[in-house]
Amino acid sequence: MPEVTIVTPVGCIGNRGVDSGALTLAMEKFRPQALAMDAGSMDCGPWYLGAGKEHSPSINIDHDLEAVIGAGLQAGIPVIIGSAGGSGGGRHVDVTVRRIRRIAAERGWHFRLAVVYSDIAQEFLLDLADGGDTVPGTASLADGTALRTEEVKQCASIVGMMGVEPIIDALESGADVVLCGRASDAAVIAAYPIWKGFDPGLSYHMGDIMECGESAAEEIRPTLRGLTHNRIPIVGTIGSDSFVLRPALDTLACTPNSCLMHSFYERSDFRLARFPGGTLDRTDARYEAIDENATRISGARFRREPYSVLLEGVKRVGYRSLFIFGVRTPKMIEQLDAILADVEGIEQKLFGEAGELRIHWHQFGRNAVLQQAERETAAVEVGVIADVIASSQELAHDVAYDLLTRISFWRYPGRTTTAGNTAMTFSPAVFDGGEVFEFNAYHALQIDDHRRLCRQQIIEI
């Protein structure tokens, strides 16, 4: 096969949604051999992985699943979806399978669905540790230390970010649709060309630029888009020594600059990128415009390294209640830090024996966004969010309510507002936010065989 064309309809399933007209046009005009895209991100924080919930709106997820699977079935080409449900945990995969089953039943579709789970059981890691304090072959991407078994035991959910290998296994099994748990965004797109024998450096580089869909393109003329679902697909065609990227519509362009700039996006290093099994080195990459809309890219290399998979794990650290209030009185704003610290001290004394408790203050209008890095501190009014995290929801709620009452009637020096100090924004004042999670694993795990981490299931829809 001299060339392979992959279309990435949308940067993330459910994130604003693919423009169906543009996808139809891409299918007819470019006749791709596969559709590939991800459905997730860890940018939204640890909660979604811990709680097993999706982050995109249901109506957008269903729109995108229907559009891309429908397009793939009609063309008779595989559809590959990574990081199902946002975080790619087992519950995220399962809820996506239920969506796909429902849509298929409504449309009368029949096809082979390969589901690739990438959640990792605590027992698997504890077995590797074999009674030790740490899991051998793990190294934190934050500080290099090994993963402690104590943390593994506390994990509510752990996923391993798959590379191309388990996706290729699924394609080998004749799947029409491959639905992956947590997966490298670039690998989801690179899997098909690597399966067909194309260079892994070029394939991973192509995937790494296409993974956010039209983010790698710029609009060069006004574009007629769908009002609600309006993401424009990106088309990648890979050959033996280069690949070409172009948007589905010619009012957008993949330029050398827009393609190179995508290597900046959400990445700390635009030259090197780690994947399971090796590093993509873009140091010698070349970008050359071939027409108004397209860029030819070559020169990236994939350096083989011992196989390793990134583990992402989260643990529950408590339950949240929060309340929001405004302060407009200059004398109180001057003393706000001290007032909040004093009141917090009272809560620790009053509730400290009832359970673990911590309070974070966000002072919007003052230093909420930049915190210690803020230099401008003259505020006319301040909006405060009191974020209370405690070992139970009931405790967090009670602490929050007690806090707001005390702040509202706190007698600070020079106070004249003797009927109350704060502008309470809502009634009821306290919002219960449920479980709170933190990352407690972000470690590379060296492993001899990807099949020890990923589990494949074939479902005939």
Binding site: D43, G45, P46, M261, I389
Partner: protein, 104 residues
């Protein structure tokens, strides 16, 4: 503002994984790019963000784009209690102040 930050075409911040924030700049003029490239260092970034210099991960440049990238370790991981900017999308202003100072 009338300095290098105001002239920049891109001046942004974003998570690069849950533990790192990355800063991207595409300068508006060659003079701004040259002035900043010639004078910026990890200590200045650390000072701007009130973090230890060891938490600045690197500064890199692409001359043909007039682009700069710098990254630093987050004070708190994304979405942890107390983190004010889960996606890291609004941390560019300390860098803007620094660019105005260095770029003139």
């Amino acid at each position: 503002m009338s300095g290098a930050a105001a002239r920049a075409k891109v001046l942004r911040s974003k998570n690069a994984g849950p533990f790192v924030i990355t800063l991207d700049v595409i300068f508006g003029t060659q003079a701004d790019f040259d002035a900043v490239r010639g004078s910026i260092d990890p200590a200045l970034i650390a000072q701007a963000y009130a973090i230890p210099v060891g938490d600045v991960i690197g500064i890199d440049f692409v001359p043909e784009l007039k682009a700069m990238k710098a990254s630093y370790r987050r004070r708190r991981p994304c979405g942890h209690p107390g983190d004010p900017d889960c996606y890291g999308m609004n941390q560019e202003q300390p860098l803007a102040r620094l660019l105005d100072r260095l770029g003139g």
